[in-house]
């Protein structure tokens, strides 16, 4: 996909209406880069080189500029990981309410280390910075493609139930 003539139409083919709505929202094209990157991340949970090249072409930017934006913001990913990313906050307020221990025990229960993915490719555990959920720690966000949900006042048991539910839901989709 190195040739300019050979840029894929991944986003425009898959989400034509959303791409159009994003462009309509801003007076300049370049402002569309962040919402387009979320769109590119929706399905696989990370942004491929091909998607970055397409976005660069759409916005008349260099692919490197788009890659630099992906690298700058921590919610964009350029490498494959689990379908779901459990992102536990261990910042000061959460840590005062036991977030470090929660993360340690969660890792032991799931059987992976921070940054690793379960063998079935379902869950990656990550440690992240403050999520504005300080009064309801331990807490984490669940990132799934371009979507995010908060899970607050959590215990390891409650989290394991959530992981089981995600496993089940995913099997049903496959069948």
């Amino acid at each position: 996909m190195s040739s300019v003539d050979n840029i894929p139409n991944l986003l425009r083919d898959k989400y034509p209406e959303e791409v159009q709505a994003i462009f309509a929202k801003y007076p300049i094209k370049r402002s569309a880069v962040m919402p387009l990157l979320y769109l590119a991340q929706r399905e696989a949970g990370y942004i491929t080189k091909e998607s970055m090249a397409e976005i660069a072409t759409l916005l008349e930017l260099d692919t490197t500029e788009v890659a630099a934006i992906v690298g700058f913001y921590s919610m964009y990913h350029d490498e494959k990981a689990g379908k779901y990313r459990i992102q536990v906050c261990t910042d000061i307020s959460c840590a005062l309410r036991g977030a470090d221990k929660f993360l340690e025990h969660l890792c032991q229960n799931i059987g992976i280390k921070v940054g690793e993915t379960t063998p079935d490719g379902l869950v990656t555990i990550e440690e992240v910075k403050c999520l504005a959920g300080c009064d309801k720690a331990p807490m984490f966000q669940l990132q799934d493609g371009d979507q995010v949900s908060y899970h607050e006042n959590m215990t390891v048991d409650k989290t394991m139930e959530l992981v089981e539910a995600l496993k089940k839901a995913n099997l049903e989709v496959k069948e």
Binding site: Y73, S74, D91, I92, L96, A132, Q141
Partner: protein, 419 residues
């Protein structure tokens, strides 16, 4: 007391547009658009003494008056990036009382002559952004946003924009860069955003909580607003209380409420029978207040407003009060805060980028018990050299807790270092 901002705590369904309307919703916007001149609103907000709730405490009406009326269009940008560790108030406003907030954004647009307002939310607030989009659509349908508002020539549109996980985008010029599709790195000032802001046009940037005060001010006037709070810090404030307290959470209280009332009356005191040792009143960016037998009453009786918190050696900031009990030591606390700032430094200014890297090496070594007394001195020296040398406040903020921890809790560091 009655809530001005957290009205959902008195009227639980206020997030439904019909319920909001039944409780005088959009009356202030209608009054503004149909019977007031923009300048009258700017003057009223100036007279109200409303100060920016994002942390800096700058008078809102004064900020608005910096926009030149020779350059158009003007933009209103709402800072909903809420990322300071210990701060979780804007989230509750947007989730539970969204129409009052959006009415505030629309009033700000009218006051500065902007026909477009952007709300910049941190990426983690994805569900809140989708919820606000739905509320905006409801308001358009009901004629509170869009063209020819209330039969006038006034047009106001509001759009949401999601960040993607970067604390620095709460800094207003970095936020503008981010909307423009760039990495969120602060701009050199001047020119200030009031003159050269979003897309190079005059722009006012206000925090969610600041804007949510506007419907009340327009409806009840400056005098009505000033019945709460103090002369120099009028109004109510949402205090985000977290850490080692029995009842952490958001509390809307008049500015000038004491630490004692917040922590012991509302927060239910220190958890697990421990004692209070330290307070960070402005999140991870705080100078740390030491609380011991000698200082306890003085600190507890300090009114939390923009002036008085300085008397106990800190700042009110965004009023994110982190309470630390006597089971924790400050070498651990600053190791946590520096982990945060090292991750969040945008990398543009060398003192902040490299300074935070070295501060992390040192705080880790000290906390692990592998450091010498010289390392503590070196840490203080690195922090001192960073201060005042960066384009934005992040560099300075990162040094606050470090320097005050070393100065005010020397015993924590003496115990940690090797002889």
């Amino acid at each position: 007391m009655t809530h001005i901002l957290f009205r959902h705590r008195d009227i639980p369904d206020i997030k439904n547009i019909a319920v909001y309307q039944q409780h005088a919703g959009f009356a202030a916007l209608k009054k503004a658009v149909t019977s007031l001149q923009p300048k009258q609103i700017v003057d009223e907000v100036k007279a109200s003494g409303l100060r920016g709730r994002g942390g800096a405490g700058f008078p809102t009406g004064v900020k608005w008056s910096f926009l030149p009326d020779t350059i158009w269009p003007h933009y209103v940008v709402c800072n909903a990036d809420e990322s300071e560790p210990g701060t979780f108030k804007d989230r509750e406003i947007m989730e539970s009382n969204p129409y009052q907030f959006l009415e505030g954004v629309a009033i700000a647009c009218f006051a500065v002559g902007a026909s477009e307002g952007y709300i910049y939310l941190r990426g983690e607030f994805y569900p809140i952004a989708r919820h606000l989009d739905a509320c905006i659509a409801e308001m358009e349908k009901a004629g509170y946003l869009g063209d020819n508002l209330f039969g006038t020539q006034v047009s106001i549109r509001i759009k949401t924009h999601l960040g993607a996980g970067a604390y620095i985008c709460g800094e207003e010029t970095a936020l503008l860069e981010s909307i423009e599709g760039k990495r969120g790195q602060p701009r050199l000032r001047p020119p200030f955003p009031a003159v050269v802001g979003l897309y190079g046009k005059p722009t006012v940037i206000n925090n969610v909580e600041t804007l949510s005060n506007l419907p009340y001010i327009v409806e009840h006037g400056a005098a009505g607003y000033r019945q709460f709070g103090s002369e120099k810090s009028p109004g109510t404030k949402i205090f985000s209380l977290s850490g080692n307290v029995n009842k952490p959470g958001n509390y809307e209280l008049p500015l000038g409420t004491t630490f004692r009332e917040l922590i012991f009356t509302h927060g239910g005191g220190i958890s697990d029978g421990h004692s209070l040792r330290a307070i960070m009143p402005a999140g991870a960016s705080s100078s740390i207040i030491r609380v011991d037998e000698e200082t306890f009453d003085k600190v507890m009786d300090t009114p939390m407003d923009y002036e008085n918190v300085q008397n106990v050696g800190s700042l009110l900031g965004s009023a994110s009060v982190i309470v630390i009990d006597d089971t924790h030591t400050m070498d651990w606390v600053i190791n946590k805060t520096i982990e945060f700032f090292k991750h969040e430094s945008c990398g543009k200014c060398t003192p902040c980028r490299d300074g935070n890297y070295w501060m992390l090496q040192l705080t880790e070594r000290i906390h692990a018990g592998h450091a010498s007394a010289g390392d503590v001195k070196l840490l203080d020296s690195v922090a001192a050299q960073m201060y005042g040398k960066c384009l934005c406040a992040l560099g300075d903020f990162s040094t606050m807790a470090v320097r005050t921890a070393i100065e005010r809790f020397p015993e924590d560091f003496e115990k940690k270092v090797k002889a």
